[in-house]
């Protein structure tokens, strides 16, 4: 049932074939499948004449909170993207595809103003939708009030040109609900309100009928409670009353009657229920080929278990075949076959991909020229693959010229059309609804034609609308031709700005005047940035009136500016209100036609490269300076020294003497050079300021040094505030103290610098920082660190002290070595780093001859 309904929907949309020039003369929507009700009347004016203007598609999108449940994954946005892609890629030469979007929930919001959609701007349109209508419950509205959206939609479309095909796609997953309450009394009152507003006197349904708006309701089936029953029924009535659809697809039921005061009007649209959100993509994908004038060629759409098309007419009259996929993958043409004369061949042996028409889920193909004749009436398209696809075909534009002499009928478009197709009585001429002969037609001005083709049922009762040109009369080509510019926002084109071209084919046999005087006057008034002029057969026409040369078949005219666009921001939107160009023939057979003018552009200035470079440089400098400032601030705020609560300090004094092998040794006050027992009484609290930027341990003071502002990524460090020579474990990279991240530390430094030197012996301070907690914390940590590092560091201080005057070299080597060293090696390298004054003399510690004294321990 769903498929049948879908087929009905597609057939209903077929009449958007107004976009197909061939169908402009007279197109009618024909249902392929048997249906109780007739197909909807699409894109026709009150007199039943097919409209020839732009295509206006207005999407009313539900943005209520229920969407976060019914379409949790936001499938509707993927579907909308496909719709936009389809509309953008079906750009037409002489009219616009326009798209607009209004959301509704508690209130309406015009997200995208109805305007041209092109390959250049559809991406931006989609981004706008995504950014302004996020798939987030927080951004969605509690209630579903679509009355305001419908009113706004009809107001917008009524403001458009009458010749435009006007479509509303109304997407909702809910019922009318303006209170977010499931109270029975409220349910009844809101249902009543909806009925009155839609079906009452001069209600919305009546307005939609009067404006001939084709409305398609895409109804994502909601889950509703009993408190919404009245509103649910009223909502369905409203949808049917507005569309005139007697056979909606609500819950699988076919026909559904309306409850008074609602009643059916003209069948202008369809209600299409979708059970799953992921099926939305298929509906919106199909809209592209349909909007391009394609007609489904199979019973099922999408096909299930393989597709076999109906017998198709001669391929000469088929412009393209479109295949759309209802899966997430694009259709695979390799899996399609052509059956003709009882034989099967690969689809791609007969068709080639149409350039520039490769979309996400649809592909367009054209018949290979050399295979056209091979596909005689009755050929079929098939696939045995189970992929879900729809296949559409578009009939070619056909144009005949009739005359009084042989050949009385001549095919102008397409050239070389087989005479078998029209030589006998297949072509029927009409004056309005009345059938006329060729002789009679030659005395008329407007004649239409219908060509009967074998297996042409799918295009309309075997009779395909064709254009008729009376010999001697002119024909504006393509049919419904407009002089237009549709330039999306961007830099102006180089050279002259010009509209599209209209041709006069065939050459008229009498004096034919193209009068652009009024049109140019209104254009120059509306778009004053330029001086516009008429260009005919490639040359500007000074008088704004052009006499078409008799006998020439290459007659073309357009509007162009007299000079190229100035490098400025220019905008013009004169789509409406411009006078038409009048083309008239006066050779005893009076003929006059209007050619519309539509100009829309937004040219952006191409700025000076120098100016742009200067601004870019300024931005770079500004942000670099700003970044450096912020990084400096980060360093100030984040780079902190140790916490007072984490470390103990320890300090003792010793003498640095020359030991065995002239290595420096520490001679403790006890006299021992070998053993040292840490004194717990010398363990003390360190002092750290509140900012943790300075550290006092024993007699030493460290302060935080931040990296230079121009090198903010270097590490901050704790630098020793003393001029005395000292060695550190672990030293920072600058060798002037400790790093901020030390776990424990040992510093051996001269006492009072050189003044402590006395007869070859130097008094030094041994200062430690050990953790308060953990393994080897406290006094045990002191003992261990002195045992492990004391001798080594004393030796280093002694050696380096002896070589004072070469400090710089020593430090540089140390740094390089440290940089090259792996992490475990660095600890050893660090201990050799010393910070001393360049003018200090080397200490001359005397070798101790005294035996080691037992350690003193104070309590």
């Amino acid at each position: 049932m769903v498929i049948v309904k879908k087929q009905l929907l597609l057939n209903a949309l077929v009449s958007i074939a107004v976009l197909s020039p061939a169908s402009i003369v007279n197109s009618s929507a024909i249902s392929i499948t048997p249906a109780v009700q007739s197909p909807p009347t699409i894109c026709k004016d009150a007199n039943g004449v097919t409209k020839s203007g732009d295509l206006d598609v207005l999407l009313l999108l539900d943005n209520s909170k229920s969407l976060s449940e019914s379409d949790e994954e936001g499938e509707r946005f993927d579907a909308i993207k496909l719709l936009l892609e389809s509309l953008a890629n079906s750009e037409r030469k002489n009219s616009f595809n326009n798209f607009g979007l209004i959301t509704f929930g508690s209130a309406t919001d015009e997200i995208v103003r109805l305007g041209p959609i092109t390959r250049d701007n559809f991406g931006k349109i989609f981004e706008t939708i995504i950014s302004k209508v996020p798939n987030s419950k927080n951004e969605q509205e509690a209630t579903t009030d679509y009355l305001a959206a419908l009113n706004e939609g009809i107001s917008i479309l009524n403001g458009r040109e009458k010749s435009n095909c006007k479509f509303i796609i109304w997407f909702t997953d809910g019922v009318f609900d303006i209170s977010d309450s499931n109270d029975i009394a409220i349910d009844k009152s809101e249902a009543k309100k909806l009925q009155t507003q839609v079906c009452g006197e001069n209600g919305l349904a009546q307005k939609f009928q009067n404006a001939l708006i084709n409305t398609f309701v895409v109804f994502l089936r909601p889950i509703i409670g009993s408190g919404y029953k009245g509103r649910s029924e009223a909502s369905r009535d409203a949808m049917q009353a507005i569309t005139g659809d007697k056979e909606p697809n609500f819950d699988g039921q076919s026909a559904r009657e309306l409850k008074a005061p609602c009643e059916f009007g003209v069948h202008l649209g369809e209600v299409f229920q979708v059970d799953e959100a992921d099926k939305l993509k298929g509906f919106f994908t199909d809209f592209g080929p349909i909007a391009n004038g394609g007609i489904s060629i199979s019973d099922d759409c999408p096909s299930i278990g393989g597709l076999v098309s109906k017998p198709l007419p001669n391929a000469e009259i088929i412009e393209w075949i479109a295949i759309t996929s209802h899966n997430s993958e694009p259709p695979d043409p390799e899996k399609f076959f052509v059956r003709t004369d009882g034989q099967e061949g690969k689809f791609l042996d007969y068709f080639i991909l149409k350039p520039g028409e490769t979309l996400s889920l649809s592909r367009y193909f054209q018949v290979k020229p050399e295979k056209t004749l091979a596909l005689a009436a009755g050929w079929q398209l098939k696939t045995e693959d189970s992929q879900l696809v729809c296949v559409f075909a578009k009939v070619r534009r056909i144009k005949f010229r009739i005359r009084n002499s042989d050949p009385r009928i001549e095919a102008i478009e397409p050239e070389g059309l087989s005479k078998d197709l029209f030589a006998s009585d297949q072509l029927v001429l009409f004056n309005g609804d009345e059938v006329v002969t060729i002789t009679e037609a030659l005395n008329l001005v407007l004649v239409t034609g219908k060509l009967t083709v074998v297996n042409g049922e799918i295009f309309g009762n075997n009779r395909i609308p064709v254009d008729i040109v009376i010999d001697g009369f002119f024909s504006i080509s393509p049919a419904g031709c407009k002089l237009k510019i549709n330039h999306p926002e961007g830099v102006a084109p180089k050279g002259l700005v010009q509209t599209s071209t209209c041709d006069i084919v065939p050459a008229p046999k009498g004096e034919t005047i193209v009068d652009a005087e009024k049109a140019l006057r209104s254009l120059n008034k509306s778009c004053p940035a330029f001086v516009w002029q008429l260009v005919a057969n490639g040359k500007p026409v000074a008088t704004d009136k052009w006499t078409v040369p008799v006998g020439s078949n290459l007659n073309a005219f357009f509007f162009a500016t007299s000079a190229s666009a100035p490098n400025e921001n220019l905008e013009c939107n004169s789509k409406q209100g411009l006078d038409p160009v009048v083309v008239s023939l006066s050779n005893g057979k009076s003929q006059s036609e209007n050619v519309g003018v539509s100009v829309q552009y937004k040219f952006l200035k191409d700025p000076s490269s120098l100016l742009v470079t200067i601004f870019t440089a300024l931005f770079a400098i500004l942000f670099a300076a700003l970044s450096l400032a912020v990084l400096r601030l980060m360093n100030i705020l984040i780079a902190k020294g140790p916490s007072q609560s984490d470390f103990f300090g320890y300090e003792d004094e010793a003498e640095l003497v020359s030991g065995d092998y002239k290595r420096g040794e520490l001679r403790w006050l006890s006299g021992s050079t070998k053993n040292y027992v840490a004194d717990p009484d010398k363990l003390h609290q360190i002092k750290v300021n509140s900012q943790r930027t300075s550290l006092d341990v024993g007699s030493l003071r460290f302060s935080r040094e931040l990296p230079p502002i121009t090198r903010p990524f270097q590490e901050a460090r704790l630098a020793l505030r003393s001029k005395s020579p000292a060695v550190f474990w672990q030293a920072n990279r600058h060798a002037d103290g400790l790093s901020l991240g030390f776990g424990k530390a040992l510093v051996i430094s001269y006492v009072d610098g050189l003044s402590s030197k006395n007869e070859g012996m130097v008094r030094v301070k041994v200062t430690l920082l050990v953790p308060k907690r953990g393994l080897n914390a406290g006094i045990s940590g002191v003992q261990q660190l002195i045992s492990e590092r004391g001798d080594e560091m004393a030796s280093q201080l002694f050696t380096i002290g002896a070589g004072l005057g070469t400090k710089v070299t020593e430090k540089t080597e140390s740094k390089q070595e440290m940089n090259n060293a792996s992490a475990p090696q660095r600890a050893q390298v660090d201990s050799r780093i010393v910070g001393t004054e360049a003018n200090q003399k080397p200490p001359e510690p005397p070798r101790s001859s005294q035996p080691p004294q037992p350690p003193q321990r104070s309590n």
């Binding site: 601004f615 931005f619 492990e788 475990p824």
Partner: protein
Amino acid sequence: MAINSGPPQRPTSGLGAGANHPGSFAPTANIRTIVKSARPSLPLVLIVLINTLVSIYLYIIGGFDGHVKTHAAGLLLGMFLGIILLGLFRQDFNKKQSSGLLADWQFSSSKIVNVLSVASWLAGLANAHAVAKSIARWLPW
């Protein structure tokens, strides 16, 4: 003499734990302690990567003559936030490195972040160019 492979981390329990006064005494044994190494901050590297990708993405979707707001966002992310993130990473990296505990990845995390930050900055510059173009377009010169 056994040497620690680096400064020990403080246990929360066991020997020495809770020693919060100078008088506490622990045995002076040479103990080979097991030290847990510090790895570069993976979340920060990922944030830097995402920031870089978003900056580039904003430039692409902003288009050559496109949305000023999009490019302005790309400019802020690329030229400003990228540098701030690099600063945060370096703070963390330097601290771990100076503690001697850093065990870097096979591919230097520092180099990875530097390259990403440069890319982010260049993306920011490209966005700055687009913003500059939009501004210059509305000036009379």
